[in-house]
């Protein structure tokens, strides 16, 4: 055959299919590159003729506006780039905590949907069908305007034993702040941590040797608490004092608080995404063959043990790729925060566009950030996917 084709190479290259295919590919690639280049040139000359050529120097200018909630110090005198960072951190905050809770709820609901209890599995099915068929934006505005803004006014805050307060300005919970004894007490806590780590290592090792795993986590926790309590009374100065939220002027001060804007976007994302994750989890569990469960039952494993030791490790391989997509969706959907007034990257970027007129630059930055955030997430999930696949036997 090979000699045949070589002899047949008298066919001129414009009639040789291999060349034709290669040429077609080159033409397509060249065409797309030329189109892209033409679009970019068009944009650049357009901006030039408007007198606002593309550049990022404006990021150093003073932002001049305030942001409602920030994880780092920020004032109106900070530069634009810091405002963007504040928005970015708020985005990361809501999406990372959101991913955590959405996974938790999603798994619970996904398992519940497969429950043999009629009520539990119907409730889970109703939850999934209701939530995944409502547009997220509508749901967010519903949450914000009919739930969180309708909580009690500050003056008539609902309180839980004077330690926590629920208002439409936010949830305020008592927290602690450091007092005189803290500098000594932190070493006590560190020692407690060390003791509990050593203890759990020893217990686990013993469990492996004897084949009867003790409740190592409980013991570790108890020993940590024990050390912490004993240390509290031994140290003369009080290490921590409670920081109780009190109504001062127009708002509560002190304690830790969550704003209604954060709660609206957070709960919206979690409740919405959990419905999709539940379906992913259900699909994953159902993909594990029935024989595996029957074998586990034959060995006398309890339902929970079957799920934890037999079903989940195998289901993970099916679950992870679509789960990654849900994580990416949650992250990208967090840009809807602007609808409920939460200052995420997109919301802050919008204000900067209006203040500085640098629409193209800000949109480029915003897209770049979401892209790299999503790529990082999928990179991690792909790594985890490979990791779980290796376990396959």
């Amino acid at each position: 055959m090979a000699t045949n084709t070589r002899k047949g190479s008298t066919v001129p290259f414009w009639r040789d299919e291999r060349y034709l295919q290669a040429i077609a590919q080159v033409i397509v690639v060249g065409g797309i590159a030329a189109l892209g280049w033409w679009l970019i040139r068009n944009l650049l000359t357009g901006l030039e003729s408007l007198g606002t050529p593309l550049n990022f120097r404006f990021l150093g200018q003073t932002a001049q506006f305030d942001i409602g909630e920030s994880m780092i110090s920020y004032t109106r005198n900070s530069p634009y780039v810091r405002a963007i960072l504040v928005g970015l951190l708020n985005t990361i905050k809501v999406s990372s905590v959101g991913i955590l809770f959405a996974t938790l709820f999603g798994v619970i609901i996904g398992v519940a949907r497969l429950s043999s209890n009629w009520l539990v599995n119907r409730l889970a099915a109703a939850y999934v069908e209701l939530l995944r068929n409502i547009p997220l934006l509508v749901f967010l505005i519903f949450l914000s305007s009919t739930v969180f803004h309708k909580l009690p006014l500050v003056a008539e805050a609902a309180s839980i034993g004077k330690w926590a307060f629920l208002t439409n300005r936010g949830i305020y919970v008592t927290w602690v702040h450091k007092a005189a004894g803290w500098s000594t007490y932190q070493w006590v806590l560190l020692a407690g941590l060390l003791i509990s780590v050593v203890m759990s290592v020893l217990l686990i090792r013993q469990g492996r040797r004897t084949g009867r795993m003790p409740l190592w986590f409980l013991w570790a926790l108890l020993s940590f608490i024990g050390v912490a309590v004993v240390g509290w009374f031994i140290i003369p100065a009080t290490p921590l004092v409670p920081d109780i939220p009190t109504l001062q002027g127009r708002n509560f001060q002190g304690g830790i608080s969550l704003t209604p804007e954060f709660m609206a976007i957070f709960s919206g994302l979690v409740i919405y995404t959990a419905a999709f994750i539940a379906e992913v989890v259900r699909a994953g569990i159902q993909a594990v063959s029935k024989g595996q469960r029957e074998a586990a039952a034959a060995l006398g494993l309890s339902n929970f043990m079957t799920l934890r030791l037999v079903v989940f490790p195998q289901a993970m391989r099916v679950i992870i790729p679509p789960l990654t997509s849900q994580y990416l969706n949650l992250t990208k959907n967090s840009s809807l925060a602007i609808a409920v007034g939460y200052p995420d990257l997109f919301a802050v970027g919008g204000t900067i566009v209006n203040q500085s007129g640098r629409a193209v630059e800000i949109i480029l930055i915003t897209m770049g950030v979401y892209l790299s955030f999503s790529l990082l997430t999928s990179l991690f999930m792909n790594w985890y996917n490979r990791h779980t696949q290796l376990v396959e036997r």
Binding site: R6, F13, R18, Y19, A22, I23, Q25, V26, I27, V29, G30, A33, A34, W37, W38, R41, S49, L50, G51, T52, F58, Q64, F65, D66, I67, G68, E69, T75, R76, N77, I141, S145, H149, K150, L153, V154, N168, R169, Q248, G249, R250, N251, Q253, P260, E261, I338, A339, G341, P343, A347, G350, T351, V353, N354, Q355, S356, G357, R358, A359
Partner: protein, 364 residues
């Protein structure tokens, strides 16, 4: 092996050739375009004037507000009404001799400049504040101010707030992407007052949050406050603080780079001012045109001097504006005056003849 190598080589050579051709094409295109464009100007749409585009299209696309009663409001029957809308109509009357040749494009505060820069709209008349930064960095040109405004703050009467200082520690609702965000930050920083801004996308969401008690106060331009308060369920439970946080000169905005269109928009505004100065309104304009002896009136109404042609319009441009839309006083009274729910005093927005700030350069 050697066959594969041959194919790879061929592909490489071809790609270099094609890319090279692309590159040389595009660099060769540039001078070719420029020389070719002189005999055939329709090849360069970028240089086409806004007026030509508008005339060809048969209507003006006007970027407006849809949520501020009195200024730009989408009515229940689907039509737009308000002070800013009337200036869109005046522009249409000047260009087409007909007030209906306008397409209203409702925009929120954040979209408006992008829409203008991108050529999506011909003119932006959407209570937009004239500032140095916007004038220079947004690629925009500001026509004369049609409404002198200032930022104010609305609070509940029973909140006990009488000054900005009383708002310390409170939260203030504000709409995104407006100068009000900046002014608020400036004023609060200047007075050292600690507060939390809660920023929403639209005016409706912002007032909704304020009415729910999420914020102690709601801030925007005073004209906007009055207009929004007319929509509150119990307007008498709210009040506007005496303090004015800023100067807010509001007026039409056009894209930079088309002086003719900029001139037209400027002089349309000035024509409404001039009408009031000369006491010519939609009722008496026909009379004035028939009996005009004053050369200034004759120039305004297109009887002498070819003023319209100098703008690229017909000579009865100003007559059309006054006849079809009215002079400034009529526009103001129709939308904001004593017969409306807003009943806003003219204040700074009176003609200079009456001690206000409205002053039109002579039409001659």
């Amino acid at each position: 092996m050697s066959r594969k190598l041959l194919i790879v080589l061929a592909v490489l050579i071809l790609s270099v050739l094609v890319l090279g051709a692309c590159a040389s094409n595009t660099t060769a295109d540039k001078p070719a375009e420029q020389t070719a464009s002189e005999p055939a100007p329709q090849e360069q749409p970028a240089t086409k004037s806004t007026l030509d585009v508008v005339k060809e299209r048969g209507k003006i696309i006007c970027g407006v507000n849809q949520a501020v009663p009195g200024f730009g409001f989408l009515q229940s029957d689907g039509s737009f009404a308000g002070f800013d809308i009337d200036f869109c109509k005046a522009l249409s009357a000047a260009v087409f001799g007909d007030t209906s040749k306008v397409e209203y494009r409702p925009l929120n505060a954040k979209q408006r400049f992008t829409a203008l820069q991108g050529g999506e709209i011909d003119v932006l008349i959407r209570n937009t504040t004239w500032t140095l930064t916007r004038d220079t960095e947004l690629g925009a040109n500001f026509a004369p101010t049609t409404f002198y405004d200032g930022q104010g703050i609305t609070v509940r009467k029973d909140s006990g707030v009488n000054t900005l200082e009383d708002l310390a520690g409170g939260s203030i609702c504000v709409a995104a992407g407006t100068t009000t965000e900046l002014n608020l930050a400036d004023q609060m920083a200047a007075r050292g007052i600690d507060y939390t801004p809660v920023v929403f996308e639209t005016a409706d969401e912002t007032t909704g949050a304020y009415l729910d008690g999420r914020c102690d106060a709601y801030t925007t331009d005073k004209s906007g406050l009055v207009a929004r308060m007319s929509l509150f369920p119990n307007p008498e439970e709210h009040k506007i603080l005496d303090e004015t946080l800023s100067k807010e000169p509001l007026g039409p905005v056009v894209r930079q780079g088309d002086d003719q269109w900029f001139d037209i928009v400027k002089w349309v505004v000035f024509a409404t001012f001039t009408g009031e100065e000369m006491n010519i309104n939609s009722q008496n304009v026909d009379d004035a045109k028939a009996n005009a002896t004053d050369p200034n009136v004759r120039k305004l109404l297109g009887l002498e001097g070819d003023m319209g042609q100098k703008l690229g319009l017909s000579n009865d441009w100003a007559y059309n504006i006054i006849k079809m839309v009215g002079n400034y006083a009529e526009i103001y009274d129709r939308n904001l005056g004593p017969d409306t729910v807003f009943n806003l005093a003219r204040g700074l927005n009176a003609s200079w003849v009456d001690g206000g700030l409205l002053y039109a350069p002579p039409i001659r």
